[in-house]
């Protein structure tokens, strides 16, 4: 009976993959505020905050860098992604198909889905560090890449299975869970950090900044870690979700918004999750380093458990879930575009399995900063293509949605833009030594330039 009911529900899950979202399904600003706050107060926050400490970020650099970087990220959501989302109301994948053609979109979707799988995998791994506490399993170190043993793999598979099951039930379930958990999660982050401040030497609020400089964000990287400056932090905060805002992946989410101003709701995620939570988790990690004499073991679960007990461990598990779920959902949408006749829940099941496999490898967590930057960079050129195709092409006499208009399966100009801008970024990094965190900005302008020039040349044959 229960199985039949579940099966019937799964058949009914409809996410408007190839049609505009009807007005009856539009949602208000508050709904997005909860979703963004939940999504960006996540398992990764328990990793990124500590990695800033490990990379020797200075206290003032961190406070100011995050403030400005997050502000730029909010503006990117509000002015780049949301206006197109509420005008078109279709998924990123469907819009790309109209511009780039089915085959190129399929190639993009595969890369995109794989990236989402890795990202969701890192969150499942973070949750697993908390589930593993009662079993006392050995945790990975900052320098580890491979699974620590069979117990670790078993726990990751269990967490992955539950996360995938929730994701197969559709976006509504994910959003409800995320909205309920969001306010509690951020208070746990905050409470855990406040409660450990006396152990770091903060006896009154006036001491905080001095202790922050001397014991938390000391400006000295741990052994084997590179040094982070103000600029690293600013650009990381701006571009860590580059795939979502400038890369337009959140078209798929913001198409449910009543107005484009819902893009500003991303501030809920940025200033709660990517500010308070990063600072709070950095504080917890600094205490762990102090107590463990700079042990290189890196496991968010035990760190949160030691600061906030069972609640801390629960927070790590739930934080991992609330981000892994929408990420698996997004990956499912990417694959759904390739196989439109397949049921959403079956696709989600495949995605969840790949995600779980990826989660077994601690390298995903330890190299998270670089991976997040790479993931945004690889997907960014398609966002630039959509932006220019939508706003500029009608004004300069070029054909928008070329593939749909000319019945193409492959827009060569878009392919040249995607590969050309990534190659240019690679060459910039090779010749100038510029780190991956900074490549997104020149990369976006290069993608715009290449797309305009290549489209002029490519579209000539139709204008003759």
């Amino acid at each position: 009976m229960l199985l039949e009911k579940l099966s019937a529900h799964l058949e009914e899950v409809k996410e408007y993959e190839r049609e505009p979202v009807p007005a009856s399904r539009w949602r208000g600003f508050k709904s997005f505020l909860g979703m963004y706050a939940g999504e960006h107060t996540a398992g990764t926050e328990f990793v990124i905050g500590p990695l800033f400490v490990a990379h020797g970020a200075g206290a003032m650099d961190l406070i100011l860098g995050l403030l400005l970087g997050n502000f730029l990220a909010v503006l990117s959501w509000a002015f780049i992604c949301a206006p197109i989302a509420v005008r078109e109301r279709v998924t990123l994948y469907y819009l790309l198909e109209k511009i780039c053609g089915k085959h190129l979109t399929n190639a993009y979707n595969l890369v995109n889905a794989l990236m989402f799988c890795f990202l969701a995998g890192s969150m499942i791994a973070v949750s697993a560090t908390a589930i593993g506490i009662p079993f006392n399993i050995p945790m990975a170190k900052l320098t580890d890449w491979l699974p620590s043993g069979l117990p670790w793999i078993i726990i990751v598979v269990l967490v992955g299975a539950v996360t995938t099951f929730v994701a197969t039930l559709g976006y509504d379930k994910v959003e409800k869970f995320s909205t309920i958990a969001a306010p509690w999660m951020i208070l746990v982050f905050l409470a855990a950090a406040i409660a450990v401040l006396p152990e770091l030497g903060v006896k009154n609020w006036g001491d905080f900044f001095q202790v922050a400089q001397d014991k938390i964000w000391t400006g000295k990287p741990l052994a084997g870690q590179s040094k982070f400056t103000f600029w690293h932090i600013l650009f990381f905060a701006w571009f860590c979700n580059m795939a979502m805002h400038i890369g337009m992946a959140d078209l798929s989410i913001l198409r449910y918004a009543k107005k484009w101003t819902a893009g500003f709701a991303s501030a809920g995620g940025m200033y709660v999750g990517h500010y308070i939570a990063w600072l709070a988790s950095g504080i917890l990690y600094a205490l762990f380093l102090q107590q463990s004499n700079e042990n290189l073991e890196f496991a968010p679960g035990p760190v949160a458990y030691s600061a906030a007990g069972i609640t801390g461990a629960l927070c790590v598990i739930i934080a991992g879930w609330t981000t892994a779920n929408p990420t698996i959902y997004r990956a499912g949408l990417a694959l759904q575009a390739i196989m439109p006749k397949a049921k959403t829940w079956k696709i989600t099941l495949i995605v969840g399995s790949i995600t779980t496999l990826a989660a077994c490898f601690p390298a995903l967590v330890m190299q998270l900063l670089d991976f997040v930057a790479l993931y945004g960079l690889i997907l960014m050129p398609m966002g630039a293509i959509i932006f220019i195709d939508y706003w500029l092409f009608p004004r300069i006499g070029l054909q928008s949605n070329l593939a749909a208009a000319k019945n193409l399966t492959f827009n060569v100009a878009a392919l040249i833009t995607w590969l050309g801008s990534l190659l240019a970024c690679y060459l910039i990094a090779k010749t100038t030594g510029l780190e991956i965190f900074f490549l997104g900005l020149p990369g976006w302008f290069l993608a715009v330039l290449i797309y305009i020039i290549s489209s002029y040349m490519y579209q000539k044959k139709w204008s003759k």
């Binding site: 409470a191 855990a192 069972i310």
Partner: protein, 54 residues
């Protein structure tokens, strides 16, 4: 009933954060804070899960 459930949930959130300030000012211990946080967590999620409050 709905108001009562909301009050219980809000009390849960308060219990999650306020005791940590007590630890900072050395009014309660870190261990006591962990218990309060756990009770707060149960109060926050309990009514929402049991009664499926939206």
């Amino acid at each position: 009933m709905k108001i009562l459930l909301k009050l219980v949930s809000m009390a849960g959130l308060m219990l999650t954060i306020i005791p940590s300030i007590g630890v900072f000012y050395e009014v309660i211990s870190q261990e006591e804070n962990k218990y309060f946080m756990l009770i707060g967590t149960l109060l926050w999620f309990g009514p929402k899960i049991i009664f499926k409050e939206k």
